[in-house]
């Protein structure tokens, strides 16, 4: 097993090992260790590091880097990610791949410094103006985070879309043992421009056939939905109730499921790893006589619960009750999830759908 490492450092190092040649970012708690780490590490490796004047400038630098064909990334937290959305939408418009790491903090506007999952809707729906999506990957531990960073870059390049590593404050700040991947070669994509004008067929936004592009994009997203859903699951075949949770809430929920089962209740779990595409396929494995689904979330309104409802509408019996344990912020403890499950089981809590 690898050495102990802090979450944000692990993510930054993993990106460099995946061949990232360019980073631009702006400090914000709880993601700051990423920009700090890279300020030393990237020059050491001969890569390009820029501390930009703002999140908006950082993402526009990433635009220039991706247009140059370089493997590139930025990182921020919630409100900082908000400022990047114009650029992320522009990247989508130009089919330019990139990675953005969102070490989320709970809350609206400036928000808090608490760990939370209040950016689910924003990150899974594209986030800026327009009609696009990014692949959103959410780890529940540091080894998984490190592994997903490399995957995120590869998927972004493969499908010519953006990738978001959607993690959270506690995961960025905690330490765990981690095996780091080997260094991969730094190389430019062939479609990048460098001034020599060998790529003559680049389409200008002013002359593009927008209808054709939109249809092509939709088709590409359908392929991503078909091929790239990822999740972890347990005990779905006999489950009376299925708990759905991602990130650190997902990790806690998996522990709670073991405890609840030990007391004789048949519960299963689905832990989405791709938040977009949402792992709809996981639901096809669930016991047809399941009595209910329970979304466990670190926000107050319940956000992912809507995706569970849409999935059931599409693939399953949409009249199955769907509950939501929305804990506002902070990682819900296994004990708390267990207690609240027992209240649901006793008919004390009302379903959302």
């Amino acid at each position: 097993m690898g050495d102990m490492i802090k979450g944000n450092h692990a993510i930054a190092e993993a990106a460099l090992r995946a061949g990232a040649e360019f980073y631009a970012g702006y400090p914000i708690t709880p993601s700051t260790e990423i920009v700090e780490y890279l300020s030393e590490r990237m020059p050491e490796l001969g890569r390009v590091f820029i501390q930009a004047e703002s999140e908006g400038a950082s993402i526009n630098m990433v635009i220039g880097a991706s247009a140059s064909g370089a493997r590139c990334f930025t990182a921020s937290s919630s409100v900082g990610m908000t400022l990047k959305q114009e650029g992320i939408s522009h990247l989508a418009d130009m089919n330019l791949p990139f990675l953005a790491v969102n070490v989320t903090r709970y809350g609206n506007g400036l928000g808090t410094l608490d760990t939370g999952q209040s950016d689910y809707n924003r990150d899974t729906r594209g986030g800026g103006s327009g009609d696009y999506r990014n692949i959103v990957l959410s780890p529940s531990g540091l080894q998984e985070a490190v592994d997903l960073v490399g995957l995120a870059f590869d998927l972004a390049d493969k499908y010519r879309v953006g990738a978001i590593l959607h993690t959270e404050a506690a995961l960025g700040q905690m330490m765990e043992p981690c095996d780091m991947p080997e260094f991969r070669e730094v190389k430019r994509r062939e479609d990048g421009i460098n001034g020599d004008y060998t790529i003559k067929n680049r389409v200008s936004p002013l002359t593009a056939d927008r209808r054709k592009e939109a249809i092509e994009l939709k088709e590409r997203y359908e392929i991503i939905k078909a091929n790239e859903q990822r999740w972890e699951e347990g005990y779905l075949e006999d489950a009376d109730y299925v708990i759905v949770a991602y990130g650190l809430a997902g990790r806690s929920a998996m522990g709670a499921v073991e405890q609840i089962r030990a007391e004789g209740h048949k519960v299963g779990f689905i832990r989405p790893i791709t938040l977009w595409p949402f792992p709809e396929k996981a639901f096809s494995k669930v016991n047809p006589n399941v009595k209910g689904y329970i979304s466990v979330e670190e926000n107050a309104l319940g956000q992912m619960v809507d995706d569970i409802a849409l999935t059931l509408k599409k693939y399953k019996n949409s009249s199955t009750p769907i509950y939501c344990l929305a804990y506002a912020f902070g990682i819900p403890t296994m004990k708390k999830i267990k207690e609240d499950f027992l209240r649901i089981n006793a008919g004390e809590l009302k379903e959302v759908y």
């Binding site: 001034g195 002013l206 002359t207």
Partner: protein
């Protein structure tokens, strides 16, 4: 005897600006300088958002369409990853000095080795002539219908002067105009100096161009050129504000 100017190779298709507009002259001069410096296959035109966005259709060279105001940031990345390529940010006064002032100042302040060309026509041309950071005192625009009131909207910004006086590392800063053959020739020298500074890794270079916008000023092309000479130049003097250091 007047020299006949050859159309640069990279300007193939027609670009449609209004009659009397300065953008066409600026695009042409940039292309001539690129060609004369032997950089035709070593340049990225990074274009902002304004009437000049149309230029991207007519330029046969590597080019990129940046977001409104953000070309200096994208140019920064282009240069870092392509250090031997000539990187040009083509922007307007609204693009570079209003929405993009943060990126413009920060790029100059970091002394990025790129060239920014800002075409200053004292308004937002593309959206129909609203007030910009360079609209002159008293100038009527669609958002200053009674004339710009500098008591409430501030005085027009002088970005080249700001860069030249506050950022001592900047390599080259000048302001030119397109209003007479003499001015056009001088402007071409400024642009070429800026490109040479970049190609020699001397640092940030900036050329602002005073440019008529007859359509939004409600003037004929000739009247609009007179306005540049008689009115705008009294507030925005031409010249080199920071010369290249002879090394």
């Amino acid at each position: 005897m007047a020299k006949k100017r050859k159309l640069p190779e990279m300007l193939g298709k027609q670009i449609s600006f209004c009659p009397g507009c300065g953008h066409g002259v600026v695009v042409r001069l940039i292309a001539e300088c690129i060609e004369e410096l032997g950089q035709t296959n070593n340049v990225i035109w990074n274009i902002g958002v304004g009437c000049y966005s149309l230029a991207s259709i007519g330029i046969n060279a590597d080019k990129f369409d940046s977001l409104h105001g953000k070309a200096s940031a994208t140019s920064t990345a282009f240069k870092k990853l392509n250090p031997d390529t000539l990187i040009i940010s083509y922007q307007g006064d609204g693009d570079a000095y209003n929405i993009g002032i943060g990126e413009s100042i920060s790029t100059a302040y970091r002394n990025e080795n790129i060239t920014v060309i800002t075409v200053n026509n004292t308004n937002y041309g593309m959206t129909g002539g609203q007030m910009s950071a360079t609209t002159l005192p008293g100038q009527m625009t669609t958002t200053s219908p009674k004339g710009r009131d500098c008591a409430t909207t501030g005085m027009p910004i002088k970005f080249p002067e700001l860069v030249a006086t506050q950022f001592p590392n900047a390599a080259y800063v000048a302001r030119g105009s397109v209003t007479s053959p003499a001015n056009v020739n001088k402007l071409k020298k400024y642009i070429k100096n800026a490109f040479e500074a970049q190609l020699n890794n001397e640092g940030y270079s900036l050329v602002e161009v005073l440019s008529p916008c007859p359509t939004n000023w409600g003037m004929t092309p000739l009247q609009s050129h007179d306005r540049v000479d008689n009115e705008i130049m009294t507030y925005y003097p031409l010249g080199e504000f920071k010369k290249r250091e002879v090394k």
